[in-house]
């Protein structure tokens, strides 16, 4: 009896990700959500520049590779061309919260019925470990060799908190994949985000706290510990916006 099978929404192509990287887990969770809701035939995914740029080889739905940071704008074009489709973006922190901040905020402001999967690992992975907009104070990266100094490089952005203030954002939740319990919670959150999209009530975003052992210079085990000890205190897990609940309360 098969108790653990590959989701249909993933191709046979092996992931290129580093050992201990959590992209693989999140890819799988996204694919499971697509399978679970029976959306694979009808879904278009968008992956812009970053470690996940090759996501178009991994997801077994139609895929578009977008310019750096522009995935929410590309997703807007796809969704507006055919609102009956399911559209998701899969973006890293540099992509979503630095070069693509405007596209992210305004996709939220327009209440685009798209789902954003936001991988926050506090670093630029693909280019080899530079400071991200979400790098923590004091964090050493190749472009903050003396640690991130708030007077010099500013403070890390809390995206879910920021987006939760926008009327067009229907759902914003921050999750983590540092242990089994949190992985299961992430799976539930991603599924919920796609369900919100089907309800057509606005943008849904799931921020996933993730690890980058290679560029953090830590073993996979130490990396998950670092995430728990440093990232979760600054980026608390939880639901920051849920329009379905707000509507319920109003009734």
């Amino acid at each position: 009896m098969v108790v653990f099978d590959k989701p249909k929404a993933l191709t046979e192509t092996p992931f290129h990700y580093c050992p201990g990287c959590t992209h693989g887990i999140v890819h799988r969770l996204v694919a499971e959500a697509i399978d679970g809701l029976g959306l694979e035939d009808n879904t278009i995914g968008i992956a812009p520049v970053g470690c996940s740029v090759f996501a178009y080889n991994y997801f077994n739905c139609d895929m578009i590779e977008a310019p750096h940071g522009r995935a929410p704008a590309v997703a807007t074009g796809v969704k507006r061309a055919d609102p009956s489709k399911t559209v998701f973006t899969y973006q890293g922190d540099g992509d979503l919260a630095a070069i693509g901040t405007a596209e992210t905020v305004h996709a939220g402001a327009r209440g685009e019925n798209i789902t954003i999967i936001f991988i926050n690992n506090c670093i630029y992975g693909m280019t080899g470990g530079q400071m991200a907009p979400t790098s923590l104070i004091g964090q050493v990266t190749t472009t903050t060799p003396y640690g991130r100094d708030p007077n010099l490089q500013g403070s890390p952005l809390r995206i879910c908190e920021m987006l939760s203030t926008i009327d067009g954002v229907a759902y914003a939740e921050r999750v983590s994949v540092d242990n089994v319990k949190n992985v299961l919670a992430t799976k539930k959150a991603i599924k919920k985000a796609f369900e919100i999209q089907q309800k057509k009530i606005g943008l849904s975003i799931i921020e996933v706290l993730s690890t980058c052992p290679t560029n953090w210079g830590l073993s996979p085990t130490k990396a998950t510990e670092w995430l728990r000890e440093n990232m979760i205190p600054y980026y608390p897990l939880g639901v920051y916006k849920d329009k379905t609940k707000e509507e319920g309360e109003q009734k």
Partner: protein
């Protein structure tokens, strides 16, 4: 007789786009193309289309990328400063072989420049619309009627060759009113968009729209294949107009609004007994090189004078086209200043029979 409408050039582009089946328009406000966006905002919702004001030129071109990748006919319009911002997206659209129509209603530059008509984005349009080895088909209308006709053709060319097509107009053409006839033109046979990301429906392999190729040999092949497509475009799609070139001694080369002023100057020169003619490129890319070269081979033609609203951009393409077989000069006004027929005539007199 077909009904004619009196409208601005910018509006004619918008109306022609809707009639050509453009379903989505993404723009950002900028002078002197504003009427185009406003016409779309007013009319698209009534005609099963969508017009959306983006948060930036960057976002607008990426919305175009998405809608095009989803298989829709889509357009954006702007002026020079906006094209600079869009150039990232344009390069990705070329690299992903996506069709769309991009309008540049030119104004004076560089920088914020001004809002009066100019042709100073010629080099940008024909040579530098984005990073990488690439071209766009560039069409240069010279009347409100052509704004409409070439818009329809632009959508067809984009779909046939899977490439973005630029309409390069200017503030004068955009703002001026002329009668225009939108009569149905026979549409060209269009290929099926079986590459589009519409959801595979369980009936085909997943489609990927992408411009990333990590292996140099693979990337090289995609670029070489695209340049084969450009060769086809050069063979099949060059457009130009000749006026009194047959017996001419001096040929004015001018496009867009400048070509109309130059036409008056040519007529005035003829009245003075100077055998002047006009060559008007309609496609700026592909540039009508062979046709110009054929003129340069004619014995009676001694001189070429490129008249442009810039400091001398197209003049270099004229020289290349005719391999400097004959003398080539430039006359231009820039910064939003429109040359007068008299100024052009003075330059015709100056250069006819060689520089004095």
């Amino acid at each position: 007789m077909a009904q004619k409408y009196l409208m601005k050039g910018n509006e004619a582009i918008a109306e022609a786009a809707i009639r050509a089946g453009c379903k989505l328009f993404f723009g950002y406000p900028i002078t002197p193309q504003t009427e185009l966006s406003e016409y779309m905002a007013k009319n698209m919702p009534k005609r099963e289309g969508l017009s959306l004001q983006a948060e930036s030129e960057v976002a607008a071109i990426n919305m175009v990328l998405g809608a095009s990748a989803a298989g829709a006919r889509v357009m954006t319009s702007t002026s020079g400063p906006g094209i600079s911002l869009k150039s990232e997206g344009i390069s990705y659209i070329v690299g992903s072989d996506l069709p769309c129509v991009i309008v540049n209603v030119q104004r004076g530059g560089p920088g914020l420049g001004g809002i009066q008509p100019a042709q100073s984005d010629y080099n940008q349009a024909t040579k530098a619309l984005g990073h990488g080895d690439m071209h766009l088909i560039v069409l240069a209308p010279a009347s409100v009627q052509e704004m409409a006709t070439l818009t329809g053709e632009a959508f067809d060319l984009a779909d046939i060759y899977r490439t973005p097509v630029m309409l390069l107009a200017d503030g004068a053409l955009g703002q001026m009113m002329e009668p225009v006839d939108f009569e149905e033109k026979p549409h060209r046979a269009l290929p099926k968009k079986d590459w589009a990301c519409t959801g595979h429906g369980g009936s085909r392999k997943h489609n990927i729209v992408n411009s990333l190729y990590i292996e140099p040999e693979v990337l090289e092949k995609t670029v070489v294949d695209r340049f084969k497509k450009y060769e086809q475009i050069e063979q099949n799609e060059v457009k130009y107009e000749e006026y009194l070139t047959e017996d001419a001694e001096i040929i004015i080369v001018a496009y867009g609004i400048t070509s109309r002023i130059a036409k008056t100057a040519v007529r005035n020169a003829r009245e003075k007994g100077i055998k002047a003619g006009l060559f008007r490129p309609i496609t700026l890319y592909p540039f009508p090189e062979k046709q110009l070269d054929a003129l340069a081979d004619k014995e009676n033609i001694k001189t070429f004078l490129s008249v442009e609203m810039n400091m001398g951009q197209m003049v270099k393409d004229v020289k290349l086209a005719i391999s400097c077989k004959k003398d080539v000069y430039h006359f231009g006004r820039t910064g939003g200043v429109i040359p007068t027929p008299d100024e052009i005539l003075t330059n015709i007199e100056k250069y006819v029979g060689g520089a004095k």
